[in-house]
Subunit: 357 residues, 2 copies
């Protein structure tokens, strides 16, 4: 369920990864908005959240360079500019979306029993499951309060309400996706279509929400709003499929995760679902049996990887990611926007299916 | 963390408890509003929520008579009528508040490791912790969507926004209370004041929100809104203290919990916090030691109960609950309302500190 991330060095000293250049434009602004939201929160409850957001260490000391990519808020701001409005107006929504995403990560880490995220112990592994549930619940409540700040940015009431409803609906869809993803663990006849319906909720819903919200704040043109929503949905699907590929074939140093990590966790990610569906003969029996029994040995994981390679699960998954990216780009062609915005949206779309982290 | 509840027989055949008569007026309406919210939700994710709400059994079969008291939504509707408006207008808020309360119960049961609620297995004990986290998260998201229905009831935009912000803020305060309550487990110098600050958040915040929200929808008179808010806060404190008393000295048949259940769980409820603070000499040492060591034997629980009795912890707690009830009644005296509404608000206030479940 977790999205592969890498240490992102805001200090600039040690930039290991090539994020699209647009990230530089917005990242500091998103960070400032998020930090200003937390200014009045003093209980240690909030320090768990600050820890998760990469602002402090477990002793409350200020740290740098451990935050996430802030992909969703950046896309929200970019959509707002692409739709013709100054990105400042969308900052409260961008922050709220990032907080909803992070609330889900705190709870995901409990659900997946993950002890590390971004090279650091997860919240539950530091403070226990009960308080980690509170940290996630609290972050979700703060997201709701964050979006109310749209009023201070002069966003009209009707647009505020629409952004609010969209965030609530997208959050519920994301939880549906999380529910489906977990329920797949006990099911052995998941089709590629089932998988796509799941990631449409788990990942694409909030990504699509980010783009659509930025567009709602940026324009009254419903066609632009609709196209950017579809762009968001498609890059969301592509993003998750790329995540699945990295989860199996990713570079350990870049992902911060063990080799073939999702095979060892027996995640029903796309390459596995595809192999379970398309393998034939003894290979089919073998991979089915590996995924049906509890636990997995090193040997079984290696055999599963072999079967994935035999059916070309990686190439097939990468092709699907590219197709969704292309669908996203087709949506983009349908709207009028600045050359500048279009170039940056395209750059992000390419980045999402090519990234190694 | 859990509130003692009893089987409430909506069928009317076997009414074991005396709820204030106002519950009859609103209960069905609250139930209808809640059920209409769930009409379009079909994934099994939502069946976990329906199960928790007492509408279906674990196999999805319709059942009756296992729902909670719906105290908060009923108080919200009563406040709306007391403030001079038809209660129908407040139904979306009433439902949203009940859903926020129930989201917190689903997560509380995980946090407290409680396997039973209202004489039935808890959600996590039926479906596991990961999916129970999703069920709670989903119910929280539905609460947010429920409150948006205020628009359909003709509630002015400004009041909608105020109700929304109040619910979000109250929800966050409730989570703060939950955080403090859990953190008290590892602390041994909790004062009665610390305890009061905790329940002010954990319980009084949402109760106060229920009354204030009803008042906001019912009137523009800020003084009435403020008084009903304070009434809600004070009955919330009284309610929680009564809950603590029942958690130790409650009738097993009525609470559905084992005798002296909160002693065996070593909860830092008011009678215990009071005893830890006021016991002297060897009794002080003894009870401190019992609460400092891990686990508790039957003999130690009996000794703790003896010490609670020696310092008259029960009488002291009951007196405090009565004082908060009286403060609530004083607030009520300050507003103009119908004789009808006043009588019902008073009846609820008395019920909350006298109830046995």
């Amino acid at each position: 369920m977790s999205e592969q991330t890498n240490r992102y060095h805001t200090s600039g000293k040690e930039k290991e990864v090539n994020l699209p250049s647009i990230f530089e434009r917005y990242r500091k602004e998103v960070d400032n908005e998020l930090r200003s939201i937390f200014v009045d929160y003093h209980l240690p409850l909030y320090d768990m959240m600050r820890y998760h957001l990469g602002w402090i260490d477990e002793n409350g000391r200020h740290i740098e360079g451990t935050a996430g990519k802030a992909l969703r808020p950046i896309l929200c701001l970019l959509a707002c500019e692409a739709a013709g409005e100054h990105f400042h107006k969308a900052l409260p929504s961008a922050a709220a979306i990032e907080l909803v995403h992070n609330f889900s990560l705190i709870h995901d880490d409990i659900q997946d029993n993950d002890t590390e995220r971004r090279h650091r112990p997860t919240v539950w592994s530091m403070w226990g499951i009960p308080q980690a549930i509170n940290a996630g619940d609290g972050m979700r409540a703060i997201a709701d309060l964050a979006i109310l700040r749209l009023e201070d940015r002069g966003v009209p009431q009707k647009k505020q309400q629409r952004a609010q409803r969209l965030l609530d609906e997208s959050c519920l869809r994301m939880i549906e996706g999380q529910y489906l993803d977990l329920s797949f663990e006990g099911q052995f006849n998941i089709s590629v279509n089932d998988y796509l319906e799941m990631i449409d909720r788990k990942t694409a819903a909030l990504m699509s929400c980010a783009l659509q919200t930025g567009a709602i704040i940026g324009t009254d043109n419903e066609s632009v709003i609709e196209r950017l929503r579809e762009f968001g949905k498609n890059i969301g699907l592509a993003f998750q499929i790329r995540d699945d590929v990295i989860g199996i074939w990713g570079d350990q140093d870049k992902t911060g995760k063990p080799l073939a990590s999702d095979i060892h966790r027996k995640k029903k990610s796309l390459p596995v679902v595809y192999a379970l569906q398309t393998a034939r003969g003894t290979a089919r029996e073998e991979i089915s049996n590996i995924y049906k029994k509890s636990g997995i040995t090193k040997q079984e994981a290696d055999r599963a990887l072999d079967i994935l390679n035999e059916v070309q699960a990686r190439a097939h998954s990468e092709r699907m990611a590219e197709e969704y990216r292309n669908s996203a780009l087709t949506e983009l062609e349908k709207i009028k926007t600045s050359r500048w915005a279009r170039a940056h949206l395209e750059e992000v779309a390419y980045f999402l299916v090519e990234r190694a982290f």
